[in-house]
């Protein structure tokens, strides 16, 4: 048989004869008839060109995000994409590489991971960052399990802010339920922010972990210094999760305020907002707990000639070495996405990231001001609370209705909160980035006024 051309009819006959079977069905006889599909109702096969045209026509009936003014966010954000990101990403040396099991031979990959760790460490304000995780939701899960391990499994309670992205909380539930960890949810105060005293009360001295998101699901910046103190008062690990990583260009990461773990989603750094990912999780912690950290660490060293080189400094707790006793089941990493984030951040530079974040903030403030000026029936749900580049808009109808009506006016106004419940008004999360020129703001304001 050819090594990469599939088995033909002759090959199949040969294999079946060798196995002493008459047909493919005999080979799969052990599968119960009840779970087998009896034929699929498919149209006849078509050629490639026909498929390309037909599917292309079908796809063009979608409204593409970049084709009309778009304010979608809620965990996935549109940002500028310098060409260099895709150019580096598509190099075969990176594009086809899987996780390095014989790591030191892949110096380029290790250097990228080392730079990624360094960048995340500086943005989060914590000294140790791992070589990436799958996405923000699983990063939160890893932070909770990490806290449980650090406190040696003696505390089975975790305190989670209701203003952490509802999808993250759902992913967390699938793990905590199986691990016997109890989750309590702290709702925000009337200003959409967490009250450190409620957090302190909920955690008592039983919680292994207090997890908060900032900017939170409603776009509001939390009082991180007070929340870190509230978590630590009862001996819990303080975890910050970030869903809009660009906010770290303007707001200091939780590490600067005493948080023990800062983790989250780095899609904003050069990863396109695609359906279902791939996204990119990050995880940073203090050195004292690094052996409970999931994943691996790349370090800088010198080779036998004294030349700068990179090595896998910490991987001994991973699945391929520890098997059932591994620190987590994150064994590979999102290497290519970590590369995208690294190239994107390095193309931006420190001052570039700050400028980018500032422009998101300034445009968001401008839009909020214009909405406030228009007033009834539109209002900003939490007008006094500080936001970064997203806020909750309330108007004449529930969030879902508003989004549909504004879309028919030619604007993708944001993500409705309608289906997610929560102790906040039913409205629309509006995200503004540097990709929204003033004409987008004009378009949204115009559409809103027509709906009033």
């Amino acid at each position: 048989m050819h090594p990469w051309v599939g088995a033909g009819p002759e090959d199949r006959r040969h294999i079946l004869a060798e196995l002493g079977l008459k047909s493919i069905d005999d080979l799969f006889a052990s599968i119960p008839a009840g779970v087998c599909v009896d034929g699929l109702d498919l149209p006849p096969a078509r050629d490639e060109d026909w498929i390309r045209h037909t599917l292309g026509d079908m796809a063009s009936s979608n409204v593409a995000m970049d084709s009309i003014p778009c304010f979608l966010g809620a965990g996935v954000y549109r940002h500028v994409q310098p060409s260099i990101v895709d150019a580096v990403l598509s190099r075969a040396e990176f594009f086809t590489s899987y996780t390095p099991y014989q790591p030191e031979i892949s110096q380029g990959t290790l250097q990228v991971i080392f730079e990624f760790q360094t960048l995340i460490s500086r943005l989060t304000g914590l000294d140790v960052a791992n070589a990436s995780l799958y996405d923000g939701a699983t990063a939160l899960v890893e932070a909770v399990l990490f806290s449980h391990r650090v406190l040696r499994g003696r505390r089975d309670l975790v305190v989670i802010a209701e203003t952490i992205h509802p999808m993250y909380r759902r992913v967390l539930d699938t793990y905590t339920e199986a691990a016997g960890i109890e989750v309590v949810i702290v709702p925000p105060g009337i200003d959409g922010r967490l009250d450190p005293n409620s957090v302190r009360e909920m955690a008592g001295d039983r919680a292994c972990c207090v997890a908060v998101q900032s900017p939170n699901f409603l776009g509001i910046v939390e009082d991180l210094p007070q929340l870190a103190v509230a978590a630590h008062d009862g001996g819990a690990i303080a975890v910050e999760v970030v869903t809009e990583a660009v906010s770290l260009g303007l707001l200091a990461g939780g590490g600067s305020f005493g948080f023990d773990v800062v983790c989250g989603e780095a899609q904003s750094f050069g990863v396109a907002p695609g359906f279902g990912g791939p996204h990119l999780g990050f995880f940073a912690c203090a050195p004292k707990n690094l052996r409970q950290m999931p994943g691996r660490l790349v370090g800088e060293t010198v080779d036998e000639d004294g030349t700068r080189a990179f090595c896998l400094t910490l991987s001994t707790r991973e699945q391929h070495i520890r098997r059932a006793k591994a620190t987590s089941n994150i064994c590979t990493n999102q290497g290519l996405m970590a590369l995208a984030a690294t190239v994107w951040l390095e193309a931006m530079g420190g001052s570039g990231l700050r400028e980018l974040a500032s422009s998101c903030f300034v445009r968001t403030e401008e839009l909020k001001r214009r909405i406030t000026d228009v007033g009834d029936p539109w209002r900003i749900a939490y007008p006094q609370s500080p936001t970064f580049n997203e806020f909750l808009l309330v108007g004449p109808g529930n969030g879902k209705e508003l989004v549909e009506r504004l879309a028919s006016e030619g604007v993708l106004a944001g993500v409705p909160t309608t289906d997610w419940g929560g102790s906040w008004p039913d409205g629309v999360l509006v995200a503004v980035t540097e990709r929204n020129p003033v004409t987008d703001l004009d378009a949204l304001m115009g559409a809103m006024e027509r709906l009033s």
Binding site: R152, R291, T316, R317, I321, R322, K325
Partner: protein, 127 residues
């Protein structure tokens, strides 16, 4: 390969020495040699209670992590805090300064081997 006569040994390669009402536990010279350079030692908390064969902690070398087990049942009375900064003591002085934990309990156990028995056990293992 040194196997001191005054110690007892578990088949999982820990050594045990009686000290009054308690026992000191470490890993054998053979075990540290198999592990290679130890870079991190995770010790149990003082006051924790273990049964025979429970995992007391872990020893991390450059390329692997191994558990060390409780050779006798008891409560942890003391741990070797020097290992936090000097994990290499496990390699350099496995029967002395490289000790791991002190547990309440006695070395009286039929499961434990004397030096001659442990040497024989190692020969069988490598055979």
């Amino acid at each position: 390969m040194t196997i001191p006569d005054d110690l007892k040994y578990a088949r999982s390669h820990e050594w045990i020495k009686a000290e009054g009402d308690s026992v000191v536990v470490g890993i054998s010279h053979y075990a540290q040699d198999q592990l290679g350079e130890v870079v991190y030692v995770e010790l149990p908390e003082v006051g924790a209670v273990f049964n025979v064969g429970d995992e007391l902690g872990t020893l991390e070398s450059v390329k692997a992590v191994s558990e060390f087990l409780a050779p006798v049942a008891g409560e942890v009375l003391e741990v070797n805090t020097r290992l936090e900064d000097e994990p290499n003591l496990v390699n350099d002085d496995s029967y002395g300064d490289g000790w791991l934990v002190k547990i309440s309990g006695s070395t009286e156990s039929e499961e434990l081997l004397d030096a001659a028995g442990y040497e024989e056990f190692l020969e069988q293992e490598s055979a």
